[in-house]
């Protein structure tokens, strides 16, 4: 997989999302729960706005000094016996991991959840080199068995229901029990335990690297990331280059923000900080540790007006409040990063060409910006994307450009505007019933297929306003 998850058109993807009633009800209930959890956790903590301010200041300082902190990180990892590989592209990163796998003659690779490895398509690369790759996060394992992409960055299998999951387990793994979630999870525990013990290499992502000590921190709940970093002799951690903090003091603040904003937990079950290889007198943990630091388009964002998009800590709070995501679901975005942050980030990482619709998959209600624990102005970025698409790239459709040109001419001439708004009621009369337009003509067709459009008032607003002003003048009221 790469950042793009399919080849269907935007309109088809949206339609599929809207037609998938289970997914829509699952997303809407998940959004409700996530949101309540986040708000409750923020309230319990107190001073939430101060926390957000601190989070933003930390992220800003780190991005402004990113070259220094990455240097310090790599020095520390090396000092602790690890190897660091800086990869400018997905291909470089994959080739390095393939090389390590070949040197280790690895047959089985076990993974914990990592968005960046999805982004670079690491699984496919490893499979090409003859390795069996096992995803061990429960949600990711379900998706891997079913060859389905993730639809949410925290709960990737959100779009599947338990009976679909049971079906998958039955057909792919010979499962015989019920669709009770506890039983399904117990089956995964039993099946994957053997994979953990047998694996030659463990691959993890990285929520936050700590520059001062060379540590890689994983924020998890299931315990699979601990398995992956405890049992195999070789560990490879893969991180996007922006996922770093200066010291443990900043780590603590961002972890506190992440767990609350993501799932409403004070801390997740496991916050695990790994530094280099196991020591000589230790018996578990990897004897060989590799850290792969990935650019893959991120540096193009650095130093631009979109730099704060790199502040993202991948909590999904913006996704969980987005009314558009609620209706169309994660797959509609055709990116492993869905929702508002996905709509901001995907065109930056992968270009506007294939993702020009994404900045429009937003109502600009700003709920995302308000929810973001590090204060990324998401909706402002979306507006800026739209401006760029319209102004510079001319990526709007021809019909839209013509319509907008027409609108500009029409609206900039007061006489024409006045005349046509006055006339609108008359012109639309054939489609109007009881003051509502049921099946509108031309551009109104799509809208009125799903809902009614209020018919223009018999008197236009401007006419009404002028008359009201005159009346007030006459009555001597304000």
């Amino acid at each position: 997989m790469s950042i793009k998850i399919g080849t269907k058109t935007y309109a088809d993807r949206i339609q599929e999302g809207i037609d998938n009633t289970f997914m829509r009800s699952a997303v809407s209930s998940a959004q409700g729960r996530f949101r309540t959890g986040r708000l409750k956790a923020a309230e319990e903590l107190g001073d939430w706005e101060d926390w957000r301010t601190l989070g933003e200041e930390i992220r800003r300082h780190t991005m402004e000094n990113l070259d220094y902190y990455l240097y310090q990180l790599s020095e520390q990892v090396e000092k602790r016996g690890g190897t660091v590989f800086f990869a400018e592209t997905a291909e470089e990163a994959n080739a390095y991991v393939q090389k390590v796998a070949a040197e280790k003659q690895a047959r089985k690779v076990v993974k914990s959840k990592s968005m960046v490895t999805e982004e670079i398509g690491l699984n496919e690369a490893l499979e090409k080199s003859g390795c069996e790759v096992v995803e061990s996060d429960l949600g990711e394992w379900i998706l891997q068995l079913d060859e389905d992409p993730p639809s949410h960055i925290v709960t990737p299998a959100l779009h599947k229901n338990k009976s679909q999951i049971r079906e998958t387990f039955v057909s792919k793994k010979g499962y015989t029990k019920t669709d009770d979630p506890e039983e399904l999870a117990a089956f995964a525990r039993e099946q994957l335990r053997q994979d953990f013990l047998e694996a030659d290499i463990g691959v993890t992502g990285c929520n936050f690297a700590v520059a001062e000590s060379g540590s890689v921190t994983l924020v998890t709940n299931e315990g699979n990331a601990r398995m992956v970093s405890t049992l195999p002799d070789t560990q490879i951690a893969v991180m996007g280059m922006e996922r770093i903090v200066p010291t443990w003091e900043e780590l603590e603040v961002l972890v506190s923000l992440l767990t609350r904003a993501a799932v409403g937990q004070k801390l997740t079950s496991y916050i695990t900080s790994l530094t280099g290889t196991r020591l000589e007198d230790e018996v578990d943990g990897p004897e060989d540790f590799h850290l792969v630091i990935i650019d893959n388009g991120r540096s193009k964002i650095l130093g631009t007006e979109f730099q704060s998009a790199l502040h993202c800590i991948r909590c999904a709070a913006c996704i969980n409040v987005c009314p558009v995501y609620r209706h169309v679901g994660g797959h509609s975005y055709n990116s492993i990063y869905p929702g508002p942050i996905g709509a901001v980030l995907t065109p930056l990482l992968d270009g506007y060409e294939d993702h020009k619709e994404l900045p429009y998959a937003s109502s600009l209600c700003a709920a995302c910006t308000e929810a973001c624990p590090v204060k990324i102005p998401l909706h402002e970025h979306l507006i800026r994307h739209r401006e760029i698409i319209v102004e510079k790239e001319q990526k709007t459709t021809k019909a839209e450009r013509l319509a907008m040109d027409g609108f500009a001419k029409w609206a900039s001439s007061p006489a024409a505007y006045k005349l046509s708004t006055k006339m609108a009621g008359t012109v639309l009369k054939p489609w109007t019933k009881d003051g509502m337009i049921k099946k509108g003509p031309g551009p109104m067709k799509a809208w009125t297929e799903a809902r009614d459009f209020p018919a223009p008032a018999k008197k236009s607003f401007r006419t009404w306003f002028d008359e009201r002003e005159k009346r007030r003048e006459k009555d001597g009221r304000l």
Partner: protein, 237 residues
């Protein structure tokens, strides 16, 4: 041990940032510090109260005991969980807490107890995999989140708190601090002094869990299914 492609990569970042490469960075004085205000001034008993409240939320039982009764308390955990095989962290604290003798007595009672140290090699991982319970000592305990912090080392392998179905943490009352802030400060101060951090620092909050199937909370996924904290008043010691 090596670092590949660093110069080219970092030069590019500095170029994007529109300045030469930085060889140092001063952390700014951040404008707010809300993390310092959480449970500020609380004493150990107040922190214990917070820890108890949080244990309810994280599906973890908390038992208070004394030095003298620690052995009996552990035995009750084995009995309740029908546990025969136990793997325990080793090191100087075992003796300080009188557990060497306790474990010896338990062995005579038929319990299978493995004490972790580097002598056992990878075999101990296999023992942990077979064990019904893993016993560790908390190094720093976070009241706010109900978290046990482990500085994993040769006496406290990562597997002990991970592979067995039941996770048992002995919490010396003196290790209680308000929240992760204080644990992070301890590690940061050590780093500044040049004392390197453990190869693995585990912040563990209750049993493992997942909400990946229809957002239902499932307690017990890959890690432990059950968690018990045993709080020992260590002021006497």
């Amino acid at each position: 041990m090596a670092v590949y492609n660093r110069e080219r990569f970092l030069d590019q970042l500095a170029g994007r940032l529109g300045r030469p490469r930085k060889t140092t960075a001063d952390r700014p004085a951040y404008s707010v510090q809300p993390q310092e205000r959480v449970f500020q001034g609380a004493d150990q008993d107040q922190l214990l109260g917070k820890l108890k409240e949080q244990c309810e939320i994280i599906h973890t039982s908390l038992v208070e005991t004394t030095f003298d009764e620690l052995g009996d308390t552990l035995r009750r955990v084995w009995e309740e969980g029908h546990i025969q095989n136990i793997v325990s962290a080793g090191g100087p604290r075992l003796e300080a807490y009188g557990l060497l003798d306790v474990y010896e007595t338990m062995r005579q009672e038929g319990y299978n107890i493995h004490i972790w140290d580097e002598q056992g090699g990878r075999d101990y991982v296999a023992e942990a995999e077979k064990a019904g319970a893993g016993v560790v000592f908390s190094d720093v305990t976070l009241a706010e989140s109900g978290t046990v912090t482990l500085f994993n080392d040769r006496w406290n392998g990562r597997s002990i708190s991970l592979l067995p179905e039941t996770f048992v943490a002995i919490i010396p009352k003196s290790t209680l601090v308000p929240r992760m802030t204080q644990a992070a400060q301890i590690i940061h101060e050590q780093e500044k002094k040049g004392v390197p951090v453990s190869s693995c620092v585990s912040f563990i909050t209750g049993p493992s869990n997942s909400a990946d199937i229809e957002m239902n909370l499932i307690v017990g996924v890959h890690g432990p299914v059950k968690a018990t904290y045993i709080l020992v008043d260590d002021k006497e010691g």
